[in-house]
């Protein structure tokens, strides 16, 4: 059974840049998928389409059988949480309040605009913070935390949504190697224990190989590789990271030699 299905999706930005040139793929429920590809390949755009942060120019995106559109956007987003490279927390609010924003969509605006939440929401928040190991930081301001801790708050916010899917857009690109390991381990554990579908954009080939069930390789708006992480050969990596118009790419050779 697939939770996410993407049908002949294209995306052209108003400035004329064609980010996606026809993507067809299905992502199975409870799987851990990593999208690899050079900067500008369209990884981010593809991920953002799945949460409705971008709308496709052509084709359609469905989450659990429901096609994303203007009318059901907020309803679908409840089930599709997002984790960002820059964490995107509200810096002035406390860690716990940031996690509680994950509950907003479940509640009417009336209580929530006064920052009033039900006990049930507080329980979910406590649980989510315990999962990411930040219970003692609950009432610190979000911007007082280190990068790795902020990303864990981002994941707790996603967990508080009780989602079917968590999308992570380069979640470790701003973190040191140890924090990166921690964050990827956390996402993997969430996938295994809660059966939440995880889709992650990455630049680190080694992390992708170690954590993913499936790897999708993209280059200039197209899928150029799709397979289990064990199938990711040096040849496949070469296709993913090749640059247009450069025949003998020294930098590519070196980068892949150490990957």
């Amino acid at each position: 059974m697939s939770t996410i299905s993407i049908e002949s999706v294209t995306k052209r930005f108003p400035n004329g840049f064609e980010a996606l040139k026809g993507i067809n793929t299905e992502i199975a429920a409870g799987s851990f998928t990593v999208i690899l590809g050079p900067s500008g390949a369209g990884k981010s755009t593809l991920l953002r389409l799945m949460n409705g942060l971008e709308t496709p120019t052509g084709g359609s995106v469905s989450i659990a059988g429901e096609t994303l559109g203007k009318a059901n956007l907020r309803k679908v987003r409840v089930h599709v949480a997002m984790v960002f490279q820059q964490f995107n927390l509200v810096e002035r609010l406390s860690v716990a309040t940031n996690v509680l924003t994950g509950r907003l969509a479940q509640r009417s605006w009336f209580g929530s605009v006064f920052y009033l939440f039900r006990n049930e929401d507080m329980d979910i928040t406590r649980e989510a913070l315990a999962r990411v190991g930040l219970t003692d930081k609950a009432w610190s301001r979000a911007d007082k935390l280190s990068g790795g801790q902020q990303q864990r708050v981002g994941i707790a916010r996603a967990l508080a949504q009780r989602p079917k899917v968590i999308l992570a857009d380069e979640p470790v690109a701003s973190l040191d190697p140890v924090s990166s390991e921690e964050i990827m381990g956390l996402l993997r554990e969430i996938c295994d224990r809660d059966g939440i579908t995880i889709v992650v954009n990455l630049h680190q080939v080694d992390l992708a190989k170690r954590f993913a069930d499936r790897i999708i390789g993209m280059n200039s708006g197209r899928v150029v590789f799709d397979g289990a992480s064990a199938e990711l050969s040096p040849q496949a990596l070469r296709t993913i990271y090749q640059r247009e118009g450069i025949e003998h790419d020294n930098s590519l050779d070196l980068a892949l030699a150490y990957a």
Binding site: R77, V78, N88, V90, L93, T97, A105, W109, V113
Partner: protein, 266 residues
């Protein structure tokens, strides 16, 4: 193995983009000069006038504080007028600004309507509004507060809307991606992110309203301005000087208080 890459040889840079700054500067200076000529502004008159001004100001040398308790009471009325005007502006701006911020607004039409409403309020001078409200509601501080409120709601709303538009796109998306609706986005991604700036604007508007409320007394909106108007008409320079000093002291105190408050909020 070290990478062996040929160092690219130096070639000519692409042509430098044209910089039109000198042309603009010259145009502005030319227009300024034309204005001076057209309005026949004479700097000689200014030089002669300095001596006369000096003589006039010297009449204020001996402030007369014999009525100080009454002045304080009038200053209190003026402060209350300014405070209520600011509260009114704050409430109106609080609801209009999110609609007038391009990134938060739920609909382009709401954006246009809110922007135009703010522009309209800002375009009405508070002195004129005070005249209208005094005519409609009678003398006293209420028309003054209303006039200040309407006028500065336009300012505050514009300032708030522009701050909201500068909220980091990522923070907005972080909240929007959870499925939060318009009021929730405003309350979680919007106001907390601009709290510090917003407080600065409110304090500025309060400061401005205290100064303006002192003037509004001249058109019958009560407070210390009315007293100053009367003493000036009677050529009572001693009392006028005292009134002006009371106003100055109040504005200084407010300035220090707002600086302290801003530091506290960090």
């Amino acid at each position: 193995m070290k990478p062996t890459q040929a160092v690219p040889s130096a070639t000519a840079l692409p042509p430098k983009p044209r910089n039109l700054f000198p042309v603009w500067l010259a145009t502005v200076l030319a227009v300024l000069w034309l204005i001076v000529r057209d309005l026949e502004i004479s700097f000689e008159t200014l030089a002669y006038g300095v001596a006369d001004m000096g003589e006039y100001f010297s009449r204020y040398r001996e402030p007369d504080f014999s009525n100080l308790s009454r002045y304080m009471e009038l200053m209190g009325v003026t402060l209350a007028t300014a405070l209520w005007g600011t509260v009114f502006a704050l409430v109106v701006a609080f609801f209009l600004a999110p609609l007038a911020a391009r990134n938060f607004t739920p609909h382009p039409l709401a954006y246009r309507a809110a922007r135009e409403a703010l522009n309209f309020m800002r375009a009405m001078p508070d002195l004129l509004l005070a005249l209208i409200f005094v005519a409609a509601l009678g003398l006293g501080p209420l028309p003054g507060a209303l006039a200040l409120g309407v006028h500065t709601a336009g300012f505050l709303g514009k300032f708030f809307a522009e701050s909201l538009e500068r909220v980091d796109q990522g923070v907005y998306e972080g909240v929007a991606a959870t499925g939060a609706n318009f009021p929730q986005r405003v309350m979680y991604a919007g106001w907390p992110s601009i709290l510090r700036e917003a407080l600065g604007y409110v304090l500025y508007i309060l400061d401005r309203n205290v100064r303006m409320a002192s003037v509004l007394g001249l058109v019958g909106a009560g407070g210390i301005g009315l007293a100053l108007h009367d003493t000036l008409r009677l050529f009572d320079y001693g009392q006028s000087a005292a009134l002006i000093l009371v106003i100055l002291a109040t504005i200084l105190i407010i300035d220090y208080a707002s600086a302290w408050l801003r530091r506290r909020l960090g």
